[in-house]
Symmetry: C2
Subunit: 349 residues, 2 copies
């Protein structure tokens, strides 16, 4: 398969071939990903994986959700808090309390900021960092990256635009280290401060489907990480830079997205439907599990040639079902491929 797929996809990059023109049907985005060389896949550190175990469903089936945490420098204060909370087993016995259609699923203490519950909030462990609103974005004085390091910026863009880095919500978008990222370098009273006379660049992760963020109260509260949510509808990009993103769900999303919607304000389960709250049995950091019990995942490097071809194919679908390639795609329609791989102990016979 690889032998036939790779040349075809390379060809597709240079010419807008239609299914009719190609002798073999052009590869779909997943065909391209499936043909990726192993070196294009990057292992996710166990320290960056959370295992959330929900109570079994009505049919008795187990429900496990895997969350990948964001790497430095983004949101690291909240990410550290989430590890602290997991290691204190604080999440154990909390629940999924809010399911708002086409918006978010939120979990944590049912008595936190919940108009419907009205009980007493669960005390938080010691040692949690208090983050500021400036921390919703990373800036280049943290020497994270420059715009030129933003990967594949050419694909999450309109076909017709004079500036093919344009996005509805930011000056530029693309991928960095396997994540969807927005960037801005122009002077804006909202996000850019002058730093020794030079405009300061800022960077932030974007609210795509499945991204995980930190529930908060009104500003200046920025949330601790005890309350978490994930996006279950069209990307609510207006939340970018207004709330902390800390990761994304990479397995088991269906256990959250298919939960019954709440009838209370903001989709919280109302008093008379408290039984709909899904109990959270535990949330663990994968690196704290026995090595043989750790789930292991890898993501497709967004610097890889395969990702570039995958992104181009997402923006210009030529696989047999399609008639008209869009000529572009928004950043949330080019999800970074992530897959599970099995544990093997080299030393074992």
């Amino acid at each position: 398969m690889k032998k036939t797929l790779l040349p075809l996809a390379a060809f597709a990059l240079t010419l807008p071939a239609s299914a009719e023109e190609a002798e073999t049907p052009p590869p779909s985005p997943s065909d391209i990903v499936n043909a990726a060389p192993q070196e294009a896949w990057k292992v996710i550190a166990p320290e960056d994986l959370l295992v959330m175990t929900l109570a079994p469903n009505a049919a008795g089936a187990e429900r496990e959700v895997i969350i990948q945490l964001l790497p430095a420098p983004i949101s690291q204060g909240w990410v550290a808090n989430i590890r602290t909370l997991a290691r204190a087993e604080w999440y154990d016995g909390t629940s999924v309390n809010r399911v708002q259609d086409n918006y978010v699923v939120q979990w944590g203490d049912p008595n936190y900021d919940n108009p419907e519950a009205g009980g007493k909030a669960k005390p938080l462990p010691k040692g949690l960092k208090v983050m500021g609103e400036d921390d919703y974005v990373a800036s280049n004085v943290q020497t994270w990256l420059s715009y030129d390091q933003l990967e594949n910026k050419g694909f999450s863009v309109p076909r017709y635009g004079p500036d093919n880095r344009q996005d509805h919500y930011a000056m530029q978008v693309g991928n960095t280290s396997g994540w969807p990222i927005a960037h801005q370098s122009i002077v804006s009273s909202m996000t850019v401060q002058i730093d020794f006379g030079r405009p300061r660049r800022s960077w932030w992760p974007v609210h795509c489907y499945g991204m995980v963020g930190v529930g908060r109260n009104y500003s200046p509260d920025t949330g601790s990480g005890a309350e978490l949510y994930t996006v279950i509808g069209h990307a609510p990009r207006h939340l970018d830079r207004n709330i902390a993103l800390v990761g994304r769900i990479i397995e088991g999303m269906e256990h959250l997205s298919s939960l019954p919607r709440g009838k209370g304000a903001l989709g919280f389960y109302a008093q008379d439907e408290a039984d709909k709250r899904t109990p959270i049995l535990s949330i663990r950091v994968a690196s704290d599990l026995l090595e043989a019990e750790r789930p292991q995942f890898e993501y497709l490097s967004t610097k890889s040639e395969t990702f570039a071809r995958y992104a181009e194919a997402r923006a210009n679908r030529r696989d047999p079902f399609f008639i008209v390639p869009a000529g572009g795609a928004d950043i949330c329609n080019i999800p970074v491929p992530v897959r599970r791989f099995e544990y093997t102990d080299e030393g074992d016979e």
Copy 2:
């Protein structure tokens, strides 16, 4: 409330006021909609409303879904077929057969184009139109509208773009007659034919969350309307112009979006989970129901001043929760407000 909300919102249109600057908190998008004058609301014709009744859920609760069909000239052949199928009671006894996370829920005959079922397809009624791929778009030789008639095109756009009508998937997007619409008028081998030497404009509805489309097989099949789907995730805009859209779900979306995801190919329910298919008891055209039993809905005119202020507020959230207004929004993040109103019989005592 109206008296305080309207001036504030008008002010918000001209100045990017922050919550701090305004003495009263700026109105949220829903505050603006709630203050709309009655004349800004347009009644949806009963002929354009479908009532889909699903079997009660496990708890015995009734499940009703209301679909609004697209107006002329878009997709009218498929829309006519759907009324024909409903009036033949063809949908009665069919089911929801496919639930693919972050993509679509599909219903109809479980044996249509279903790799998992493998049974015999249900015969279709006589008199169904066969539509062509050209019918996925409307063109201005049908004298529908011109670009200047595209409403509120200024709001579903990037803040930083030189062309503020730009979109990732089309030359221009906006709203027309209460629907999200994309438009293109440049010469493109894909969608524009030369008509007496003038480029022909084309228009098409876009795949936002909750939009309803017509399942089809590979090209040149365009589908009859017997197989329908709705979007339950991030807008799959790459489907625009590749498949027919016929309407949107305006009530009861949660009865579809929260269904268990299918484990089969493409999210179809596999053989061993056929019991997860949700039975469809009936689909009726509202105008065929007794007048007193018809659900009645109205949408906020996308030509109204209220809609313009609502769209601007969606693109620049200034209500208290927000810190940084996005400065733009994509077309699917500005859903057209639709609400139910109650039947009143003028002639009744």
